[in-house]
């Protein structure tokens, strides 16, 4: 008999496992990956769980092959995922572009550590955000989430599958190592309380099917291999029939614009933020991932000291919550941006808010910022 795919109940577990369970609950039945700290536990959980639910765990020879393999499974009609960390994520970039171009729904969990290069494999970091956005060549849009708890690791992995299926786009779940390995309470709801979205199937017969002809939402229905549609997909620029168009400026423009616009026009329904005490805030802390937890504690301590502090947590990193930054731009005197890198998301904040009024609090290696470290940054704004 088949095992339960949704482990409804209350658990005490780590973020990496929560991603694996979120994937299986969302319908993922194919995982291809390569061991890497601190994401290995996602693969280990999938290796144990997928055979129970009729899914396939496949250990690939490298991360390049892992992404190629999950695109293959996706075209076979199976929801698919891989998990990695910085070095592996770098190797995946070319085929992430292939998934964008061929509109293959895939999910990648990236458990971030310190870089560049091999860096600090067992230490936490938030260093892959810009790579997630710009790592593959060409113009494109992707979706990326940054969970800050074990619960969010589960919830956002489910949503990652839903959005990848809905928009036919790679979606990244970007944990930092602390969230990946932290153990805390996870509540998995009953299956009927989980919203699951599956890709649109073509409504036409194979003879009428144009694999890249979009509907109103700019997303083409997706046939899968082996069902008689006998269609062709390529990483080359292609027209709506899927045929290569390597010389036409018109087709290049049309395709690239659609690949970007299918995400851009829907950004309001994709972007999620957390707001705390922002109504009267004069200083706002912007953070994501594990740092967001310290930021909430710091804001509360600042309030106890009479400072009107608020918190804006970025659950979605890409598309970037720019409107949400703008919404507080006229109200607050200062934004404190805290992240575990030497300046990535702060640049996006600077695009929407006066850089002279931004306090950037980087942190490299070690653990995330403590609440007290962030508190002093908050208090420091009132000279």
């Amino acid at each position: 008999m088949m095992a339960r795919d949704v482990l409804t109940g209350t658990h005490f577990t780590q973020g990496d496992f929560a991603c694996a369970e979120g994937a299986i609950a969302a319908g993922c039945r194919f995982f291809a990956g390569y061991p890497i700290t601190p994401a290995t536990e996602v693969a280990e959980r999938m290796a144990r769980r997928l055979p129970e639910v009729g899914g396939v765990y496949l250990q690939m020879e490298d991360e390049i092959g892992s992404v190629a393999a999950i695109i293959g499974a996706s075209y076979g009609g199976v929801k698919s995922m891989t998990a990695t960390s910085g070095p592996g994520f770098s190797l995946m970039q070319e085929n992430i572009g292939l998934a964008v171009m061929t509109e293959a729904p895939i999910v990648i969990v990236d458990v971030m550590r310190g870089g560049p290069s091999t860096g600090q494999p067992t230490k936490t970091g938030q260093q892959d955000l810009m790579q997630a956005r710009w790592g593959s060549h060409g113009d494109y849009e992707i979706i990326a989430f940054a969970p800050s708890s074990v619960q969010e690791s589960f919830d956002l992995t489910v949503q990652a599958f839903n959005l990848s299926e809905k928009y036919r786009v790679p979606v990244f779940v970007m944990l930092d190592e602390v969230v990946g390995h932290m153990r805390e309470r996870l509540v998995i709801p009953p299956p009927d309380q989980l919203e699951i979205i599956n890709r649109k199937k073509p409504a036409v017969q194979p003879e009428q099917y144009n694999p890249f002809q979009p509907e109103k939402d700019l997303v083409p229905p997706m046939a899968v291999f082996g069902e008689g549609y006998r269609f062709y997909a390529t990483g080359l620029t292609h027209d709506e029939t899927g045929h290569p168009q390597t010389d036409s400026a018109e087709e290049q423009t049309k395709l690239v614009k659609r690949l970007c616009d299918k995400i851009r026009v829907n950004r309001d329904s994709i972007v999620q933020v957390k707001r705390l005490l922002l109504d009267d805030a004069e200083v706002c802390v912007v953070a994501y991932g594990s740092v967001a937890r310290s930021a909430v504690a710091a804001v509360n301590r600042a309030r106890e000291r009479g400072v009107k502090a608020g918190f804006l947590g970025l659950t979605t990193i890409w598309p970037f919550p720019d409107k949400e930054i703008e919404a507080i731009a006229d109200q607050v005197d200062r934004i404190v941006v805290a992240e575990m890198n030497y300046g990535q998301i702060v640049r996006e904040v600077e695009r929407r808010f006066d850089y002279r009024k931004i306090t950037f609090v980087p942190k490299l290696g070690e653990d995330p910022h403590t609440p007290d470290e962030l508190l002093s940054s908050i208090m420091g704004y009132r000279k």
Binding site: L7, P51, L58, E61, A68, I70, F225, G226
Partner: protein, 286 residues
């Protein structure tokens, strides 16, 4: 006046032909023999997928009227592995070039062969990177002239049949594009055999490799393949050389061993057989 249809036209994708290949290129032979093999076997065309990488023959996945996928450079086999593992009902065929499969994609080849996953790989080996203008690659013959080995190639080439046999392929053959019927018979064998199967086809590249190595006109290159080939079935792959004066061809490996997707399904059944009545594995607490 009605135009007579080519007997293989029903297998090709409308709007993708004419192909991009040069006159005298061997890739057309591989395409037509692959289609004839499908025809003769009366394969269910809805259940055959062709995957290719980058290069001249990489376009083949679009020329066939089948499910086709044109991957990034070197990743055809990795894509095919994911497709086959998730969809064991499909016959997955990778058709690509020597540079794509054995330079940038070499790692995927040896590991797919090691797993013995049911994929057929057909390699068009033309000794160079034709599409980018004729550069040296992993199969360029010693002393061969290319745009990046202008003084002669000093690197030893891969012996592809030896590599395939050593990596674990259950069927390994080498032919040249002068062996039209033999190619078709080998393709038919691989389409009906379960496991990782490999066919190398030595294929002329008159515009690039042939021209730079003064191999003569198109027919001269065809005759070179015909005259210098020696059929030595099941001879030692290590000794199966590809040289200007001698090309050892034939079937080198044809054996049976457990196939990956079969083992996968069998293991899945075993795992599910150990579940308790609530459908939980007792040894996998969250």
């Amino acid at each position: 006046m009605t135009q007579e249809m080519h007997p293989l036209e029903k297998f090709t994708r409308k709007g993708m032909i004419p192909h991009i290949w040069c006159a005298g290129c061997g890739d057309g032979v591989i395409l037509s023999e692959f289609l004839r093999a499908l025809d003769e076997l009366k394969m269910d065309l809805n259940k055959v997928a062709v995957v290719s990488g980058i290069g001249c023959i990489g376009r083949i996945s679009g020329y066939v009227k089948l499910d086709g996928f044109h991957t990034t450079h070197g990743r055809a086999i990795a894509f095919a592995v994911g497709l086959k593992a998730s969809r064991p009902d499909l016959k997955v065929v990778v058709i690509s070039g020597d540079g794509d499969l054995f330079s940038i994609g070499g790692n995927h080849f040896i590991h797919a062969a090691r797993r013995n996953i049911d994929i057929t790989v057909i390699c068009s080996n033309n000794f160079n990177y034709g599409m980018t203008g004729g550069q040296a690659g992993p199969t360029t013959i010693l002393e061969g002239r290319t745009t990046t080995s202008p003084y002669g190639n000093i690197e030893h080439p891969f012996n592809l049949v030896h590599l395939a046999a050593g990596s674990g392929a259950v069927y390994v053959a080498r032919w040249t594009t002068a062996h039209v019927r033999r190619i078709r018979e080998s393709i038919k064998k691989t389409l009906t055999k379960k496991g990782f199967t490999f066919i190398e086809v030595i294929s002329p590249c008159p515009e690039q490799y042939g021209r730079r190595n003064r191999m003569g006109e198109i027919m001269d290159q065809f005759n070179w393949l015909r005259e210098k080939s020696v059929v030595q079935h099941f001879s030692d792959p290590l000794k199966a050389e590809v040289a200007l004066d001698r090309i050892v061809v034939g079937e080198f490996v044809d054996l049976d061993k457990p196939e990956y997707t079969d083992l996968l399904r069998r293991q899945m059944m075993t795992v599910q057989g150990t579940l308790d009545k609530d459908g939980r594995l007792t040894n996998a607490p969250l």
